[in-house]
Symmetry: none
Subunit: 326 residues, 5 copies
Amino acid sequence: MAVLDTMPAVVRRAGTGAMTDRVREILSWYESDSPGTKTNIARLLAHGYLAGTGKLVILPVDQGFEHGPARSFAVNPPGYDPNYHFEMAIEAGCNAYAAPLGFLEAAAARHAGEVPLILKLNNHDLLYDEKDPISAVTGSVRDALRLGCVAIGFTIYPGSAGARTMYEQLRALAEEAKSHGLAVVVWSYARGSQLSKEGETAIDVVAYAAHIAAQLGAHVIKVKLPTAHIEQAEAQKAYTKAAVPINTLAERVRHVVQSTFNGRRIVIFSGGALKADDEAVYDEARAIRDGGGFGSIIGRNSFQRPRERALGFLSTIMKIYAGETT
Amino acid sequence: MAVLDTMPAVVRRAGTGAMTDRVREILSWYESDSPGTKTNIARLLAHGYLAGTGKLVILPVDQGFEHGPARSFAVNPPGYDPNYHFEMAIEAGCNAYAAPLGFLEAAAARHAGEVPLILKLNNHDLLYDEKDPISAVTGSVRDALRLGCVAIGFTIYPGSAGARTMYEQLRALAEEAKSHGLAVVVWSYARGSQLSKEGETAIDVVAYAAHIAAQLGAHVIKVKLPTAHIEQAEAQKAYTKAAVPINTLAERVRHVVQSTFNGRRIVIFSGGALKADDEAVYDEARAIRDGGGFGSIIGRNSFQRPRERALGFLSTIMKIYAGETT
Amino acid sequence: MAVLDTMPAVVRRAGTGAMTDRVREILSWYESDSPGTKTNIARLLAHGYLAGTGKLVILPVDQGFEHGPARSFAVNPPGYDPNYHFEMAIEAGCNAYAAPLGFLEAAAARHAGEVPLILKLNNHDLLYDEKDPISAVTGSVRDALRLGCVAIGFTIYPGSAGARTMYEQLRALAEEAKSHGLAVVVWSYARGSQLSKEGETAIDVVAYAAHIAAQLGAHVIKVKLPTAHIEQAEAQKAYTKAAVPINTLAERVRHVVQSTFNGRRIVIFSGGALKADDEAVYDEARAIRDGGGFGSIIGRNSFQRPRERALGFLSTIMKIYAGETT
Amino acid sequence: MAVLDTMPAVVRRAGTGAMTDRVREILSWYESDSPGTKTNIARLLAHGYLAGTGKLVILPVDQGFEHGPARSFAVNPPGYDPNYHFEMAIEAGCNAYAAPLGFLEAAAARHAGEVPLILKLNNHDLLYDEKDPISAVTGSVRDALRLGCVAIGFTIYPGSAGARTMYEQLRALAEEAKSHGLAVVVWSYARGSQLSKEGETAIDVVAYAAHIAAQLGAHVIKVKLPTAHIEQAEAQKAYTKAAVPINTLAERVRHVVQSTFNGRRIVIFSGGALKADDEAVYDEARAIRDGGGFGSIIGRNSFQRPRERALGFLSTIMKIYAGETT
Amino acid sequence: MAVLDTMPAVVRRAGTGAMTDRVREILSWYESDSPGTKTNIARLLAHGYLAGTGKLVILPVDQGFEHGPARSFAVNPPGYDPNYHFEMAIEAGCNAYAAPLGFLEAAAARHAGEVPLILKLNNHDLLYDEKDPISAVTGSVRDALRLGCVAIGFTIYPGSAGARTMYEQLRALAEEAKSHGLAVVVWSYARGSQLSKEGETAIDVVAYAAHIAAQLGAHVIKVKLPTAHIEQAEAQKAYTKAAVPINTLAERVRHVVQSTFNGRRIVIFSGGALKADDEAVYDEARAIRDGGGFGSIIGRNSFQRPRERALGFLSTIMKIYAGETT
């Protein structure tokens, strides 16, 4: 028993014991899905430190593809190694690890069964940078099954002139994934020639992007944290008339959650670039929690720090979501 | 038992009683279609308050995708919940409920068998707004079958430089839908860089758009209510020469109905934005009825009001179509 | 107008009124199925005289194929006409009409939307009569969709040396049907060289045949009414040891219902050959009802009588199931 | 911490904490398999009371199909309900639950994520009993994915004149399963016209059957417990000449384990019919453990007892495998 | 060294004796790949003069397609003959020979089994020269199998507006190749309208291009030798901040190797245009070796010299990689 007492929470909470009433409630929202897809959503919710709480912290490492390797990993060189991120996700007790094909192929066999995996099926690089970007499809549903993933991940850029292409790719891949019992995680980032830079994180735009992802059939939706800015004139009228509360970050999170089927879809928020001030990130997590958000997807703030600091940092965030700290 | 005892047989044998001579007459127009497609058209016509009358009121909720969630639902927040619209369509006695993939997936199992469903297979958002728009294909015929739908819905924008793309997508999807016994509902909205804003609802343009949808094989066609404006110079000559009556709304409805195979296709009209004056909407319904139109598709005027008011409003419109009120 | 004015809303909104709590409870047993399949099971349960009661009376007319036309229809010659049976099913208020490809093709368009249809996908004739029979596959899932059916029907002969062939055909057709949103109705009739004639309706054999159909994924199972005979020596021990009550027909029905997932699958019973004594059939219906069975599939006793007598006969049976008569 | 102390082992051991060195060692034997298949083998080994020990106890319930419902469930009637077995497997902390299509479809959605599932893809019934049996294929790899299974299960009857058919079906299904990241569990039961009844469990025959399953690419192999009888004359010579120790059950288990790639495949043993004497079963488990076997698949001895007794019985067996009792 | 010196060349260069610990270590990095793909990577590493060293020199001859025949072969006319290059690769002891479809078809049968082959599946010519080039797919996985190749080769141009097209083609071809047990060699050359000419070989760009190829699932990656120039402003910050050493060529090679999964992917470097000064090429090989690179792919510097000089030149380079000369 002594051993158990000193075991970290990740050991104690994992697995069957994590199929709580809250997890069952969340699964009940996906009523059109097969038992297979429900099982894989359950695996996301029943793993790691937050197992059973209905909250998620996911580690995504697609920065190498998106921003280049030096910008991503030079600050913390162990991150060049694909095993580093698997081990970070496992040891920190994240709910899942998400990465492109190469990173998963490089280390999935060694870590089989140790953390739920999400294969990012499309990716974008900055060597050619368009105003209206389209990500390239870089993996398949068959790859996701072969690698033992619980879900496919796919990025859409609502606002891009190429959005239609991405929506249609997602439609086909999501249908195939669902028919094979996988879950679908959608990164929905507004971007495009008709949006201002500020508009990409405007509350109306983020809520709209989240809603589009939900309508496209996503089970889990990832968006950026919204500001109080409103980008679209027509939307401004609606917000003003209905007096939608959007002053605090928690209020804005609540509005985004409402915009994804009145809270009946899992919405998580991205952490953004590496921040100097940890407290600022913790405050964001608190706002997500208080606004009814389902958690965070934290990439750069994890793998751009030294390992020990990253583990402590992720632990604090998980404790905030678990309600074990204020 | 008492209630059952006094119920006419038609109640106990629910459904069948609505297969009136008028419904059979309408079905006879679709003589090249399979019994399966006829069965699904019959289901549309035999359900709800207007069952058996040959008239339809359909509840469409794709506004969240088209205009964003806040512009659609902030005025009546229960509308953020997918169940709200299913229940509205069921309780109001609409002939059908039409929505994109996400909204149907979110609540179709719970409400299985309670209202005919139409899966909107393409959708458009305003985060990137083109002069010559193309909707993205966001669902499949297989999705429609999996969700228990009676029909697929598809939007075309005649007048757009992208119209050819949409016509060709519709052709392929309609062929697949028909071969699986589904019906095809087409939203035909003229839009594009060569049309004036006024032209989008001009009588010549609306009649033309309706005719194109019919020629593309639609079973049910939805267009906007036309104004007396004539957009195309060549068309103007024809209207003048033949003295086509288009002064009243009822006359214009009659001309649109005539333009869809001389009334041998079901044409319904959209309600447009939320209106302050209910009587204006009722007058439109009367004009549709008097002009030989088949009914309305009413979205924003339904779900942007409080529930009780929406039910009363829809009831009045149905009574107008049923001839139970003037 | 007068009739309409006094009609309760449930009449005007036909169909919906039949979605009772009992129907919803039955649908909840099919938790792995798509909303589409649930919708088609709901259509079976929400149509006809027994709509909403959770009970079913289905009219099957595959006797012409199975026994030859004269043996089937000479006694009541209007039965040679495919329309006759459609109209019988509609007018009597049956929940569904089941027939082979030809009979459905011959009249499905004329009666589109008037009664749920089940396409019998395999059939057997007696021009070659094996001890270990295998039915021929005579229709496809695509046919069922094209004809507007709610379900496919398929016969298996457990006990036949050819059972494996039929199980494997059913497996493939059921998977295809379910993926297209259809329901699966299985006729499970024990037959084969190792069974005595008496054994075909022995309680152990009928319960076993029903269980096999359920394990093969049937949504609705049709078996013969069982006798108290026990065919298999090994089974005899189990019945004796557990003192399974099988003396009365109601007890035996109850045991068959229990054998199909403890009552969580719809089991209906066949009426068998034309009987001289109507009361005997009514007693069987009472036993089915009292034993928790879900209804009857009545072919020869319907179409081998004159039309008016058949309607009266079916009406009495439905009233027994509806609890409107003892 | 008090809570943890009183938590049943199943809570503490499940999940990530269960990825022990022993599990990693076992996974290393499957070096040609994809990370997906390794992940699903890991899920089997990392779930339930025995999570992480490298031992397995699996609950199989295909008796209803194999022997008929009364022979299977009359002795403990709650077993007629598919939910009963799911709940038994979950509560007892079994590594997995294996059943035919119908039983899994009936309850997989409700229990999504709570226990690893194995879909038995072929089944055999006794209404037609051949000397050289062939099981019918009653499910598909697509079904297994749709239902969230970790593995397919398949029975072969080495010794049957129909063995070639089953080997070839297994080959195709196993290839499809592996390419979709699933594991393959093979029931290998010698049976056929050239084997004596005693020969079906003869040590030479059981070892041979286990080896064939391994050669066909099985990841997990289930055989019957062997007797000291030797069926084949040629084999007798080999056993005698090499003085293979087969006197005790543990020795025979060791020989079977050796016969499946010198212990590099997971071999488990079936419990057989309900036994009067629990101690006899415990002794078998001890022999399996002492002979290096990987565990048991226990059907009838679980579900043919009252629930509480079954839980206690399974708990004792698991403790034997866990080395927590002698 | 003594042992090697006395071994006949055929021993060192051929076959089984070359399966050294270093080769096994490299194979272990490809843990998600099938034994078939591992076998083909092993064939690359176990052939030729460098067999067993973990280093590679590959002879590619796609210059005819890329630059035209005269620019490629007029300087050394025997190079017009496809057999010439096969024989060069074999006699020089290259690890592999890579060429487009036509060159391989022309001489693969005659030289079957004598040198590992790589079929270049896409090619680009200069008769139409875009700023944002896309190579044409000119071969198939089936072709590669038919010709006995160990790998497919594919070129991507990160930075091109057409990069997305090439990434998606590669994704599909690589999945097909891997499922057939082939290896995947990716030429990753940054090129495009947003890159300066200098930028194409900038250290940040080359490292980025190498990383993209790895993420796309390449087993072997070929890039250009990088200069110390940094093209992207954002990258400059990262390099400066982390003080990444990039002054010497060896340092830059080391950074590229690090950027491909921390050295867990085979990266080789192209020799570029024919150089007047052999020593310059040798210095490059020394830098590649000292920086941890895996070797060179040398086309023009081989086949644009007379045969004997080319053999001597290649021999010197191989000796550098083998550590047999400084």
